[in-house]
Symmetry: C2
Subunit: 554 residues, 2 copies
């Protein structure tokens, strides 16, 4: 096979994956990986856990050392090397050594851009002060960890309530630091729907994390020693010995743009299914490259470690010259995170995205057990399904709770990838034994509820709309037992246990909208069928029941 | 809607599900459920855990009481009632009360047979002795539990090494009982492949459970007080204060057969996709009904609680007279179980089944982490993939280990349901964060290894064939470090660490087959590529590495 020179710019997930796979495809390739950092092939997604000592040692995050690549794979990895300029006509790259300042020219037959993404730093005054940090590299994370362990940080402000921001906030809290999250958007976790994100916010508040949403950071103030002391926000000043900037990342595209590589609509590097850019023999992979949404076919930019590994591998196969080809058709925007004991994941379109794209959307929020209710360690989870009313295609899902959520999310990922309808979900022969699942798994139950809703068997009310409906005169009827009602209920609700409903239905005003709630949803459904048989016309059910209710209860 | 009479024979999963769903579909139906047992709607799959006190109380297994059905659903449940004869022409069923002996006739418009399955009792002499039990009902399980708690059982023999047999053996062991499993087949868990089942047997042996395979039970001997004392097997006598018969179940079809309802090739009741039998207005659901294998289209009989719930629901929708229809296309033979800390699950065709059906089969055994290797609580799992070489369709999978296996099994269930190829598996946008998965999930890694194998990049050797190959002269080269090799290795293997392989390759005889092994498989793959570049022609890799090796190591 041809002994071509492959130059890879970037040494984390996508870059090192591309290097290792290309070498296995074609051992005759001469492969050089360049990285600005001191480390390569580190576990970027593990950094928040390293802060919180869930992962104790820096070395656990370092998957491979630069010298390992040479010994094990015959791949040359050069650290602290910054690519300055790509010259596609000559097929060369000018590279500066950050140690010596020397500039060298590297020739390539194939070039792979795996330049990653960089944290966006909001342009607030004082952002240069000490102890204002980002968490993108092992070097940064180790610096923060040293700061926490040596300086006795008491108060931290995390700017940004996305996944990384919340994971960092959790881990700072685990270290005993009083932590506030400031998010500009109306809720944390912007890719998730509001009903899910507000539930997370309620959970974080219970864990002692203060969350300010819809709030901009205006400035950082000096503590008198050159370090941050106070973060000034629209909601007032916040004391802070440490400010973590986690407002998001931007693709590193300057190098590409300057040499004429086309960017896509999202601002990341445009690539085809082979991971090729518009310039011959130049590939882009990982966080600097654009993705395609599998459902909509539209360009999106989801910088995820899992996608980085896949795209690195696809480029490697295509550039290796073996005749094999591989393609990357797209992604679903899957994500998952763990905050204390709460797990939450999503895939596909959110309700908000689906509506914005013009789909005729139906949603359900369905609360179930994650395994047999009688098996020890069983927990509740909530499944939000988003379905196209016309085609019944599953567009997306969000699953959250203290139980297992990664499994139902991955079932939905797989189903959506193959264009599943909600009816097809109900017949999946999913694995059942009491330690693992209910006999009817959470995904199947959620699909059943969706079908009932699509068939008009019940009408749902989103918890987000409940307050407004009640202010307009709707009556919230809780059909749980009086003991359950006594322990916890939604303000303003009245209690008529399901078994009393037929005889006590006369207490309800038929002219008003009746909204029914219970713990999970099944009793509400039974109650709504009962009331309809008794001639009530305006009956609906609180989606997700009390368990998924994202506001204060009493 | 029409106020028809629905009679349901059988009161566990399928029967009660059919009753409750039919009533929700059409509240005008008059529904009667008949059951021989004293209990209805119990958690049959939880019984083994109840024996081991994982589930403490009988009442936790009882999902609903007979009177709950009347109060909550307006469904009449009659217990201890045995259906004697169906008269399809008159649309009546003769039913005997087991309490009074009276026989009554029940009329129906629609009849649902949910008669379940019964444990098969092997015809060995002495099988009528005391303390020889089956575990199919709550009544039986409670009797065994009382026996254990009051009689001080020391030695138990479980006859049958299927899922229930092994779950019972685990739970008896947890109660401190010295337990032996006797299985007639060549290995436990007959639906699984031998390489997987032998791994389970090795694990059970480590947990102190003796397993005798390929061994028939010849007789049960009296302890002098009318109870079992010794179980006589082909492998000798076994002391036993308790013998649990778990050799499998048979569908309860006598009632159906006598009235002319057709049975299928498997001996269970033949049904169409609507769950209708050959006689008008008679449905069969749950364990007494036949299933269709989704991959082969052939009749199969997989009596599973999850399928029982699905088929009960499908029949309910179709008989309710609302105009809605639902269909059950088939199942994949999915199963899962937990034995101590070991989890194992399967779906689709086994390698053995696929070969018997004439597929051109390729398999891999791939060992990976279940989550990020650096995240606390990460464990190894082994994924066996079974693929059709011609079409690259995924035919089946078996996943086992102390890590999470239900998720990868359900990913495979969903993928196979939609006709996934192994290439499609590699691009699934599965949820990744360190607490939940590796960046490339186990399923994706297994699919990559399969593609490498299909492309001829390496040749695998099944651990089952290793001994024979070595006896024929093959050399087993372990390429782990010398420290790893020192701690544990396969008898007869020699150690050449991967990093020394190029310089020490001269020690290997090129005329012999070289089989390479390591802990997981990646180093073996690297080593095989290296040896091939050095001109070695007969190089293969031990599938699954040392981790999946199902025999003794040293």
């Amino acid at each position: 096979m041809k002994s071509e020179k492959v130059l890879i710019i970037g040494g984390v997930a996508a870059g090192t994956k591309a290097a290792a796979k290309a070498k296995r495809e074609n051992p005759d390739l001469k492969i050089v990986v360049l990285t600005k950092d001191r480390h390569v092939s580190y576990a970027g997604c593990g950094l928040p856990y390293y802060l919180g000592d869930v992962i104790k040692e820096e070395k656990e995050l370092l998957v491979k050392m630069p010298e390992d690549f040479l010994i094990d794979y015959d791949i040359e990895v050069l650290t602290e090397m910054e690519a300055l300029k790509i010259m596609p006509e000559e097929k060369t790259v000018a590279v500066k050594s950050l140690r010596t300042g020397d500039v060298q020219t590297f020739a390539y037959d194939k070039l792979v851009l795996a330049a990653g993404a960089s944290p966006f730093v909001p342009p607030a005054p004082g952002k240069e002060l000490g102890n204002i940090v980002t968490v993108r590299t092992v070097t940064e994370a180790t610096a923060i960890k040293n700061l926490i362990n040596t300086r006795g940080i008491k108060d931290a402000v995390v700017v940004g309530g996305g996944m990384i921001g919340l994971e960092v906030a959790e881990n700072l809290t685990l270290k005993g630091i009083n932590t506030t999250v400031v998010e500009l958007a109306p809720h944390v976790l912007p890719p998730y729907d509001a009903d899910v994100a507000l539930y997370v916010q309620k959970y974080l508040a219970e864990k002692g994390i203060r969350v300010l949403t819809g709030t901009a950071v205006k400035a950082f103030e000096d503590n008198g020693q050159g370090d941050v002391g106070v973060v000034i926000t629209e909601a007032g000043p916040l004391k802070a010995d440490l400010a973590v900037l986690a407002v998001g990342v931007r693709p590193n595209v300057d190098l590409a743009k300057e040499c004429g590589i086309a960017l896509g609509a999202t601002g990341a590097i445009a690539v085809n299914e082979l991971m090729e850019t518009n310039i011959k023999d130049i590939y882009a992979v990982g966080d600097c490259a654009e993705n395609t949404n599998l459902i909509t076919g539209r360009p999106v930019w989801y910088p995820m470690g899992s996608t980085a590994n896949k795209t690195g591998r696809v480029a490697a196969i295509n550039l290796a010259g073996t005749g094999h080809k591989d393609t990357m058709k797209g992604v679903l925007g899957t994500s998952i995170l763990k905050l204390f004991e709460l797990n939450m994941g999503k895939t596909g379109l959110s309700e908000r995205d689906a509506r914005a794209l013009g789909y005729d959307v139906e949603t359900v929020l369905v609360t179930t057990q994650d395994k047999a209710h009688y098996y020890p360690g069983s927990h509740l989870i909530v499944t939000k399904l988003i379905v196209d009313r016309k085609t019944h295609l599953v567009l997306g899902g969000q699953v959250y709770g203290e139980g297992v959520v990664d499994k139902p999310v991955d079932i939905l990922v797989t189903a959506i990838s193959f264009g599943a309808t909600v009816e097809q979900l109900t017949k999946l022969d999913l694995a059942y034994a009491p330690p693992f699942s209910m006999a009817m798994s959470s995904t199947i139950v959620a699909a059943h509820v969706m079908i009932n809703k699509l068939q008009g068997r019940f009408t749902g009310v989103s918890p987000l709309d409940l307050k407004e409906k009640m202010e307009a005169g709707a009556v919230l009827v809780d059909v749980r037992s009086d003991e359950e009602f006594f322990l916890r209920s939604i303000p303003g609700s009245i209690n008529i246990p399901l078994r009393m409903l037929s005889e006590r239905a006369g207490e309800l005003d038929r002219s008003k909208e009746i909204i029914i709630n219970c713990k999970l949803g099944l009793r509400s459904y039974m109650a709504s069928l009962k009331l309809k048989r008794l001639g009530f016309e305006k009956v609906s059910i609180l989606d997700g029941g009390l368990t998924a209710y994202p506001f204060e209860t009493e």
